[in-house]
């Protein structure tokens, strides 16, 4: 049993990204929801499902209930989850499941954060639980430090060069130069990349996602049938997948093989496609190394070949696998994967201007979190009207 093609994304809403002093996370979430619902040609009263990721900067229980009250929604189904970088896609998957199960008809999925200018952000490790966060005693604080050991092992096993990591950063920045919403729009050269400060070897500052951004993203999910009559061309959820490497970096294999292989295979199978059918990819890019490993896990290259593939310009619009056409989290904004979803929807709708992939009909989107633990995949395709 599968929901392939039965569920659609009918609307997408974003706020400005960057430094937005005076805006609370709540206000950014509300703005994203309002924009997404309007984009779909719907109204507040049509929304009967709400799926939220709580902001890191103000952790609380019942996040979705608080936001739903602020928005004056009357939802039948509501869910709040937080599984790191896989949350955005997982929430859309849950919305699709709730709709197909008849629990709601029009769901809004939302995230918004004022991490750049707002309330203090807790160190991630501190939230992982007493006794499980002891590695901080050795200096394992900060995302790059946690990820660098995967990147180092990947370089070691597959003779990956610094320039191959750099090719990811340079390609995504190239896309960001064509994206008025991106926080970093100056062109980036390989020389500039190689000259950037090393933070946790082998990761340079330009290998890492933008540290914190203010902004919000919301996605309206409904049945393909209902989406057909709405304001924008429907984008079908053709395939969904997920996988979790619960051992993380306690399992030697997980340094270089993410759960993305399982997650993508399931999503491809549900959509009835393979990697050869994909026109454009939006891959979770917390780090450049993460992107290369994901390209391999998703079957676009054999293991160890994503670096040369990136160096040949294949991740750029015009290459074989245009990836992170908005600039992603390396250059557009750190929306913990939500901006990848927004860009995927807009690529399929043909709304991306200079960075549009011509004839994009199939987009694969990945979410990746928890330092090799969590992974989720969506295959988006063009819907008929």
């Amino acid at each position: 049993m599968s929901t392939s093609g039965m569920i659609a994304i009918a609307g997408v809403g974003t706020t400005p990204f960057g430094k937005l002093p005076g805006r609370s996370a709540w206000s950014l979430q509300a703005e994203a929801v309002r924009n997404a619902v309007a984009d779909a040609g719907l109204t507040k009263d049509d929304v009967d499902g709400l799926f939220t990721e709580p902001q890191f900067s103000e952790p609380l229980l019942l996040h979705g209930h608080v936001l739903g009250r602020m928005l004056g929604l009357k939802t039948d189904y509501l869910s709040t989850i937080s599984i790191g970088g896989a949350t955005a896609i997982t929430l859309v998957q849950q919305a699709a499941m709730a709709i197909s199960a008849g629990l709601c008809e029009v769901a809004v999925c939302v995230y918004g954060e004022n991490a750049k200018t707002g309330l203090p952000m807790l160190f991630g490790l501190a939230q992982m639980g007493r006794g499980q966060a002891d590695d901080i005693a050795y200096g394992m604080a900060g995302g790059p430090v946690m990820e660098a050991r995967s990147a180092m092992r990947y370089k070691h096993e597959y003779a990956v060069t610094d320039e191959m990591f750099g090719a990811v950063a340079v390609s995504f920045r190239h896309h960001a130069t064509m994206n008025p919403a991106a926080m970093y729009r100056d062109p980036l050269t390989m020389e500039q990349y190689l000259a950037s400060r090393m933070v946790a070897e082998p990761l340079r500052v330009l290998d890492c996602t933008i540290g914190a951004s203010d902004g919000g993203v919301a996605i309206v999910v409904t049945s393909a049938e209902r989406a057909r009559d709405l304001a924008k061309p429907p984008v079908l959820v053709a395939g969904m997948g997920a996988g979790h490497n619960l051992d993380g970096l306690k399992d030697p294999a997980h340094y270089t093989h993410f759960a993305g292989a399982r997650s993508s295979q399931r999503a491809y199978a549900m959509a009835g496609i393979g990697p050869q059918d994909v026109d454009v990819a939006q891959f979770y890019d917390c780090f450049t190394s993460t992107v290369l490993i994901t390209v391999e896990d998703y079957g676009f290259c054999k293991k160890g070949e994503a670096g040369p593939f990136a160096l040949d310009g294949n991740l750029k619009v015009g290459g074989r696998l245009p990836t992170n056409t908005s600039g992603g989290m390396l250059s557009e904004a750190n929306m913990t994967g939500w901006n990848h979803l927004a860009e995927g929807v807009r690529q399929i709708r043909g709304e991306c201007g200079a960075r549009q992939v011509p004839g994009a009909e199939v987009c694969v989107v990945s979410g990746h979190g928890g330092f090799q633990a969590a992974h989720a995949t969506l295959v988006l395709t063009k819907g008929g009207r």
Partner: protein
């Protein structure tokens, strides 16, 4: 953005108590399941291989190799500002489990994947609840 600074001392809980007790007597201990023989770190409420609760803490050789590492050059937490650059490494113990720690007593440029290392124990400290412990660290063999 201001960051709320959290402590960097381990917190001893029931599942890790045997590990930390070992560090005070100069033993690197790994949790072993007496039902199936699997070894695990960090300690847990059951054997993650067979779910048995028959777990013991057992001293291991303290020898291993660097499975992966990073040279940290930017202090993401103020406690490490005077330590950069330092090596954070995942040590694959000869007995199997991977333990995250530091590699010391060597120039950071010389640390390599596959380098044989041996444990040593830092001066005892206390966790937030005054439980004593000593951090195990590694140096080249």
């Amino acid at each position: 953005m201001t960051e709320l600074v959290v402590g960097t001392t381990p917190v001893v809980i029931e599942e890790t108590r045997g590990f930390w007790e070992g560090t005070l007597v100069g033993e690197l201990r790994v949790q072993r399941c007496t039902a199936c023989g699997a070894r695990q770190l960090p300690g847990g409420p059951c054997c993650s291989s067979c779910w048995s609760r028959d777990l013991v803490w057992e001293a291991v050789s303290g020898c291993g190799t660097v499975f992966s590492f990073t040279v940290v050059r930017h202090a993401f937490h103020p406690s490490f500002a005077d330590r950069v650059p330092y090596v954070l490494a995942d040590i694959r113990l000869d007995e199997g489990p991977i333990l995250t720690s530091n590699v010391t007593d060597v120039a950071v440029e010389e640390v390599r994947i596959g380098m044989p290392v041996r444990v040593w124990f830092d001066e005892p400290i206390e966790d937030a609840f005054h439980t004593p412990l000593a951090l195990p660290k590694f140096r080249p063999e």
